[in-house]
Amino acid sequence: MYALRLFALLMCTALFGGCGYNTLQQQDEQVKSAWAEVLNQYQRRADLVPNLVNTVKGAVTAEKEILESVIEARSRATSIQATPELIENPQAFKQWQAAQGELSSALSRLMVVVERYPDLKSMSGFQDLRAQLEGTENRIAVARKRYIDAVQNYNVTVRSFPTNLTAKLFGFEEKQNFTVENEAEISRPPAVDFSEAPAVQSPPPDAAG
């Protein structure tokens, strides 16, 4: 009798697990923690920037523009509220990603320019800061990769049958993932038109999808 009851319990668990609810919960949680790590590392970089600028400022007075662009990019990147909800909102996510990308490129430009200043390069304070910045950029890369993997897992579950029914029922939506900067260009199908008709009459792009 006892065995039978246990068996029934086991079957119930198996059935409940089969609809993917637990998987969704788990993967949703994984995405959230991966995202928190991403934000954490970007914050770490933003915190480093003032220090870096202060150290570099004295030595590279000739490069005022680049320093200003770094400061400006930082303030833009930190002005966007980086909340956990960002991954649910495509618009805000894109903005945030663009702002961080701007800071990335401003910083890398600064680090290239700094190569021209041997005195600065040999300063131990600057070397330490550079090590920290490099370490942080690497952490960002790792955190982004883990986030991409987590979202991929989650999105596949949300979209595939039969778990998509469960996802719909409980309101699990697809989450935003990182994109390479020129993704729009790569993913656009090449518009090969062999006809003699003027190109203006081409069908709207939506029809293809």
Binding site: A3, L10, R130, E134, G135, R139, A143, D193
Partner: protein, 301 residues
């Protein structure tokens, strides 16, 4: 005029397509460097170090792990191309899982001799004791000068001195090699074991009687526990316990079964002999489940 233009667009597209195809093909051809299996603290795929030098480093690292619990591993590869040393290092770290689970106290010292690149990859738990700045200083001040002179062993050994000195200062949990993770996995297994014993046992009992079913469940539990934990004493203990539960947990056996109860233990021994094969094949050293987040520093010489 317009026609010519269109044709040039088409050719340009063809070229672009060809380029995409080429990069795809190259991508598959230039496969990533494989992560070697972790068998010992020092893995040299470049034949840079002599056997004595490897043994010397190996002994120090094992001794340090016994004393402090943290795992440091050294890997020398010819190249990490097409990946950067950072990308390869995090892949190795994720595969090897150096350091204890939850403590995340692993360090990977990676050298790519042909790329003339070196990286210290630091586990989450040691980012305080061995921050990026210190890792960078060790590389710039200790490793790079020696590597430039071709003294690889000297560079690695001196770097270990510095790393170990830094880690000594860090208050970490006492060394208790992998006992905890075995306990964790056993905890996860327990429900499954009981299901096997009670459900499977009930079914088996109708066919084999209580002794036969207890033997089978005992052997199965032992094998299962060994499979998950790779710890023989625990597997044998589980086999015996499950045998006893199977024997008396159901309808209860007669007194005459008790003397033959030992056989149930031998059901577990099946797991033991299978276990030996796996143990010797598995090698003497493996990661403890530690996590890495990309901390550390890289350098070139």
């Amino acid at each position: 005029m317009r026609r010519v233009e269109r044709r040039s667009t088409v050719t340009r597209l063809c070229v672009r397509f060809g380029g995409v195809l080429l990069t795809l093909l190259l991508g598959t051809a230039l496969a990533q460097v494989e992560v070697p299996p972790l068998r010992a603290p020092v893995t040299d795929l470049t034949q840079t170090l002599t056997a004595e030098q490897i043994t010397a480093l190996d002994l120090r690292l094992r001794e340090f792990e016994r004393r402090r619990g943290s795992q440091i591993a050294i890997l020398l590869v010819p190249t990490t191309q097409p990946e950067t040393i950072e990308q390869y290092a995090i892949r190795v770290a994720e595969t090897w899982q150096l350091g204890r689970r939850g403590v995340d106290d692993g360090v990977l010292l990676l050298v790519a001799t042909e790329d003339r690149a070196v990286r210290i990859e630091v586990g989450y738990g040691l980012e305080g004791a061995l921050p990026d700045v210190m890792a960078n200083r060790i590389i710039q001040q200790v490793i790079v000068p020696r590597f430039r002179e071709g003294d690889y062993f000297g560079g690695l050994s001196a770097a270990l001195d510095r790393i170990i000195a830094l880690l000594e200062g860090e208050p970490l949990p006492a060394s208790e090699r992998r006992d905890r993770s075995v306990g964790d996995e056993l905890g996860a297994l327990l429900p499954l074991l009981f299901v096997i014993v009670f459900v499977g046992g009930a079914l088996l009992r109708t066919f084999f009687g209580s002794f036969g079913s207890a033997t089978v469940t005992g052997a199965m539990s032992g094998a299962l526990v060994w499979l998950f934990t790779r710890a023989l004493p625990i597997a044998i203990a589980a086999a015996i316990i499950m045998f006893v539960i199977g024997l008396f947990g159901g309808r209860g056996g007669g007194g005459s079964w008790v003397s033959r109860g030992g056989w149930g233990g031998f059901g577990g021994w099946g797991g033991y002999s299978a276990g030996r094969g796996g143990w010797s094949g598995g090698g003497g050293w493996s990661g403890g489940g530690g996590g890495f987040g990309g901390g550390g520093a890289s350098g070139r010489w």
